[in-house]
């Protein structure tokens, strides 16, 4: 009984922590969902783009003593060309091939980047210096740390920007058209290759920013950090309904909250399993995810 009482007392606090974690998940999940929506590929290298973003942030902060805002910009500036390069080298030659070929290629790229970063940075976890003051704001019973406020602000700004780009700009319209049908989009004068590159760039920008934010939040980054987070964020994208941008945001936040709650009620050792268990449950109940459109089977 007492346990339940403390749990309820801590609920608003857990919710805040969960949403903060979920916001970072959502940033990465967006990259998965956009790429999947446009070329139907699970971009396994996306988790590694996020990891590299975190390391670029670390390097900038440690060697150039920049503030977090500049660190995020630099991470984005490195991740965007990297993702475009990955798409150009490893995925574009395989477009129109079997489903598994680009998948294996993506796994290869992911393994390559992991090994490369392990060689350059060493296999151990690296401390991320505290670049945001650890001020704590109290609202009622809920405590916000400044890092949490920064994460929530930056990720909301990024997500709103993304939404604007996809919904209201010409290139966003082209993205949506391309995800509907290559051929028709092509006939309308859309350069498919450029739109796909642009999609990868957008996803990578969010992942790079997410990497720096997570580094700031957990104060520790390592070359393998992209593997499990990448898989979890893909789960988040599927939970929300793959291909749907609001779905990925909802899925990410939902996953973050569920994970924090799960740990709070004593499933700490099963932390990484929560995402997958949720995924299996949701897929069995609603196979297209929360916001997904029903799949049509055509003859």
């Amino acid at each position: 009984m007492e346990q339940i009482q403390t749990f309820i007392q801590l609920l608003p606090q857990q919710l805040v922590n969960g949403i903060t974690l979920g916001a970072t998940y959502a940033l990465i999940a967006l990259g998965y969902t956009m790429v999947y929506g446009i070329i139907q590929l699970i971009n396994f290298a996306h988790g590694e783009v996020y990891m590299i973003g975190a390391f670029i942030g670390l390097l900038m902060v440690v060697y150039f003593k920049v503030n977090f805002f500049l660190a995020i910009i630099c991470a984005i500036l490195v991740c965007v060309p990297l993702a475009i390069l990955i798409e150009r080298v490893a995925y574009r030659p395989l477009r129109g091939s079997t489903r598994l070929a680009p998948l294996i290629s993506a796994l290869g790229v992911s393994l390559f980047l992991q090994t490369l970063m392990t060689l350059i940075m060493g296999p151990n976890a690296q401390g991320f210096p505290q670049i945001v003051k650890d001020t704590i704001y109290t609202v009622g019973t809920v405590k916000f740390s400044l890092v949490q406020v920064v994460i929530l602000l930056v990720s909301s700004v990024l997500m709103v920007t993304l939404h604007m780009i996809v919904k209201f700009t010409k290139v966003g319209k082209a993205m949506r058209a391309t995800s509907e049908s290559y051929e028709t989009a092509n006939l309308m004068g859309i350069n498919i290759n450029r739109i796909i590159s642009f999609t990868f760039a957008l996803g990578a920008a969010l992942a790079g920013a997410g990497g720096v934010l997570v580094g700031m939040y957990f104060n520790s980054i390592h070359p393998m950090m992209g593997v499990i987070v990448g898989l979890k964020c893909f789960c988040a994208a599927v939970l929300g309904g793959i291909g749907s941008i609001p779905g990925a945001m909802i899925g990410g936040v939902f996953l973050g909250v569920a994970e924090v709650m799960g740990v709070a009620i004593g499933f700490g050792t099963y932390r990484d399993a929560i995402a997958f268990a949720l995924l299996i449950l949701v897929l069995l109940l609603k196979p297209t995810g929360i916001m997904g459109k029903p799949i049509q089977r055509k003859v």
Partner: protein
Amino acid sequence: MESIIGFFNDPYINQVLTLTGVYLITALGLHLITGITGQFSFGHAGFMSIGAYTAALLSLHLETPFIINVLMGGLAAGLAGMLLGFPSLRLTGDYLGITTLGFAEIVRIVFINLDITGGARGLAGIPRDTNLTIVLLLAVLSIICMYRIHDSRFGRALTAIREDELAAEAMGINTLLYKVKAFAIGTFFAGVGGGLYAHLIQYLNPADFGVSRSFELLNFVVLGGLGSVPGTILGTTVLTLAPEFLRFVKEYRMLIYSALMVTMMIFRPHGLLGGVNFRKLYLDLVHRRLAQLAKTKDVGGKQQ
């Protein structure tokens, strides 16, 4: 002859070859699921670990004979595959893949948290009962099994599902049932492979059966040539031996390995032996020879 026996008796070579055989048996299971039935499974290592732990625990606690333990490991994995298959094989493509991956991760985390499996410290002291002879025998048996399945009515139904699920259903194939059967058989092989692995390495750790191992197994099947038994054999052999041959490049080993993965896919998207039909090649050769023979006879006839 003596040198050949010496070659196989070398502990290092023996170990590498036995391991290749173990992986081959596991990969053949995945070949049935992904190559023949066309269902994605990104969690094959999870089933391998179920088989490995079942067999190892039987060996350690009940001390039943080795072969029975391995078979029980296979059955446990097959049962798990069936239980997962019924609800999840309604999903298609990547959704199924990610569900199996999630399942394997859950299995791994459960094994870390259980007491009987030794948790994250791992399970040590498993007797070394696996040897090259047994593994080769079982591998050959598995290969024969695969060919028999492929040529059976059951196997043709599976191929029909791979080619077009809707059309297969229209032909009266109960697709869900067939997919679950294929999944159960495939995971059974994974479990047998796992049991053999446990008694070869003598130590089990949940970390050995993570996502990377699942994807490694998928590589075996895809890089050799999806849907082809010789392809799976080639893929498994090359990819198990490649890291051994690449030892001289030391820390750049995985870098080269992963770069090879990407280049291989770009230049042979269907795998090394993908689209190569050995029976057709052989028949073509025979036909050509026959045609040649007939031609020379004709020419000879005219001259007379």
